[in-house]
Symmetry: C2
Amino acid sequence: MTERIAAELVRDYLRWHRSVGGAPVRADEGVRALLRDLSRRMAERSTPWPAPGYLAHMTGDTPVAVTLAYLCALLYNPNNIAPETSPVTTELEYEVADDLCRLVGHAPGSGWAHLCSGAHAAGYEALWIARNLTALAPAAARHPAGRDLLADVSPARLANLPVPSVLDLVERLAARGALHEVRRLRAPAGNAALLVGRTAHYAWAKAADLLGFAEDRVEQVGVDRHHRMDLTDLRARVERLIAAGRPIAAVVVTVGTTAEGAVDDLAGVLRIRTACERRFGAGFPVHVDAAYGGYFRTVLDVEDTDARPLKPEVAAALQALPHADSVTVDPHKCGQAPYPAGALVVRDRRALAVVATRDGCFGEPRPDGGLPFAPYTLEGARPGAAAAAVWAAHRLGGLHTGGYGRLLAGCLGTARHLHQAFTAPLGSVAPGPTSAYAPDLAILNLNPGAPGTGDPRAWSARLRESGLWVSAARADTIRLCVMKPLDARGRDRVEQSLRQAFERP
Amino acid sequence: MTERIAAELVRDYLRWHRSVGGAPVRADEGVRALLRDLSRRMAERSTPWPAPGYLAHMTGDTPVAVTLAYLCALLYNPNNIAPETSPVTTELEYEVADDLCRLVGHAPGSGWAHLCSGAHAAGYEALWIARNLTALAPAAARHPAGRDLLADVSPARLANLPVPSVLDLVERLAARGALHEVRRLRAPAGNAALLVGRTAHYAWAKAADLLGFAEDRVEQVGVDRHHRMDLTDLRARVERLIAAGRPIAAVVVTVGTTAEGAVDDLAGVLRIRTACERRFGAGFPVHVDAAYGGYFRTVLDVEDTDARPLKPEVAAALQALPHADSVTVDPHKCGQAPYPAGALVVRDRRALAVVATRDGCFGEPRPDGGLPFAPYTLEGARPGAAAAAVWAAHRLGGLHTGGYGRLLAGCLGTARHLHQAFTAPLGSVAPGPTSAYAPDLAILNLNPGAPGTGDPRAWSARLRESGLWVSAARADTIRLCVMKPLDARGRDRVEQSLRQAFERP
């Protein structure tokens, strides 16, 4: 059936190609030979995501139906930069954008989302928006069109005006036709502080450098023994910056770190912000890097047979997502979509005005009065095929408790079972791998144990021979990233392979 | 044959999927119905790139063989972030990188190239590298490990140290293990000037804002009546900045503007730089946005039947490409590849060290001692399938005079013939469309003429009814973007449609 569908999609395309008057399509034996050779190479050496023992990378076994949806659109090569170059896939991206808004907890009409190349791009864009939001009030106070709006705000409070007040300011300046002029007055980019947890993704170091943050303004917030952001440290840093009248461009919270799957206490961060707003009249943008964790919101209402699938503190963080100003979520991680499919979800679409390109506004607005993509996205050309794939993945997988929820709950269950199999308190001496703490999401870190330590290349090669692919989060950690649920037999095999490799090396 | 190959690729994948122990692949009637419906929508409403009269956007009729190469790799979902997640497609990207280095005129061993999501991302990355290069010498002069290397350089010269000297500095600081420390000392990002032609792509406004350039440091260089950068204006600006000791982050030169296909006098810009180096000991990074124009280098040695395909000044600019510090070139524009396939080509790979992520260096170096991608690219996850598509396009199309060269010369010939059909001096009054100047590349701008002016939506709808798709570069310009050669009959049809629509509206 799968091959037949693929052939049908190609046939439809060829018919269309002829119907619009295209030159005859050539696919001779030379083409076939090249593609047969490429196909042989791919099949011989590709990374075996579908293997039951594959637990090494954050890439799942993409459903072939989703890949075919990508192919279907790819044939027509749509570019979602503007509806006129992608009449169908722009519509699909609007549907996907609404899906993603709902996933994060927003009403589609007020939130905004779009696809992008991945979490790096989403992070750059989120930080760009946040940095420009923070810079707006001080600039407006120096502009004739904004001065009266901020007459009663002290300079120290201007530096960190709460986000809702900045968004109101955006709206008022835009109504006066002065937003673009005011944006020009912003302070140099290096001026503001960026607060990121110490175990956040290395892309945030790239982002800080790219966006011009002075290195001494990038503050690495400490983490606790669960690799979650230390909120006592965060509160102290934020209060110090606010008291000094130094602008905070953003606090970046991670919901699912790459190495440990650790989930920061987002609700706690938001409580700190609320307290600052009450006590000092000062706030800061909060961005959540949920590239890995975002889709786990579909698990919130899943009832498991033997336990709640999510720890209460993880569920609380996921429940708090709609209160963050922006959220990165990657359909190409837990969303069953192939690369490239990242996404940024923005809570209040008024925020986009601070990065909008004035002259780049082409294309028709969507029928319901929504926004075109190009003037507000970091990227220009974007593959419409990616929108088709994510759209199909959401339709086929079901972006709810019974669909993605059930699948991801299964992954959580597998990780929890493996933790239980290896559980031992931190620092205890065991003859083999141990798990010191229950995983927040579906990534488990094991300590290989005294006899098993050594070069991760050596032990990962040894494990691979027994059909188990793992990675090393740090030199001394076995990282298991569960992207598909394993049944009891599958889990037993993983356990056995690990014990054999480390207990009897 | 095409459908058969597609079915074979899917069959190979399904066999591989079973062989690595994947769960059974499900493609039922529900899946088929969804995909049949998607396919029907795509075929009913997609933008007709293959149509002979389609001259509206910078997207060609991608060869189906290339699309199938994309499909072939897509099935295995490789991520070119690291070789272990993409064993085959990372190799293909190394081959493509060598192709692109050769295309731009570099020896693959010294230059460096990689694919990215598009020209926006390539531009951000190029500007990031250039900005950090410019900032390095002043930072090094303030650091104990760099001070002695710059003892005899005055502060004014430090601001604009010539690029070759900065690259030597990079190497020396790296040898002393001090590069990362020195990078931290750089001045705030808003400090340096960015010089861009007034008709450059609007993405440069995004780039300047994203990278934190203060708005008054972004200098729009004037253009002449051919929409090319005015070098008298450029020289004056550059000399003024150098004299004032104000750093120049980059001069951005466009080889093929989006609106007019205009080619800046790159050789002239490089002469200005050489003169500055001789007279003042000061230089600046030069980035070329050849997203559209880059592949036209394959035309340099094409012999046409009735004329040289390229104007001498355009040929000179293309010949000068290897002397630019970095070049954007988009395989998804003139490279016969589907979205997403942009690329950045860097002249000297030592430059990458100023944006490298220290902790992001994972993956094996390539066998010949080359560089892994992830620590040096703006993006993280990147679709390996895009590498497979560009690789196939280059192999099947032939990245030389007889391949792409012939094809693009044909596009140039079509544009030239259409220009000749409508040629009339600027300002002359004609009853219909006129072309005031011969196009630099294969984009022609026509003045619709007195009776034809009015709402571009109205006249482009009228043209579409006669089978001609065009766009409006500005409100009063008919823009024809020739992405495939037309024979005499095809050109006559275009001419006829235009005359009918504007002379007898």
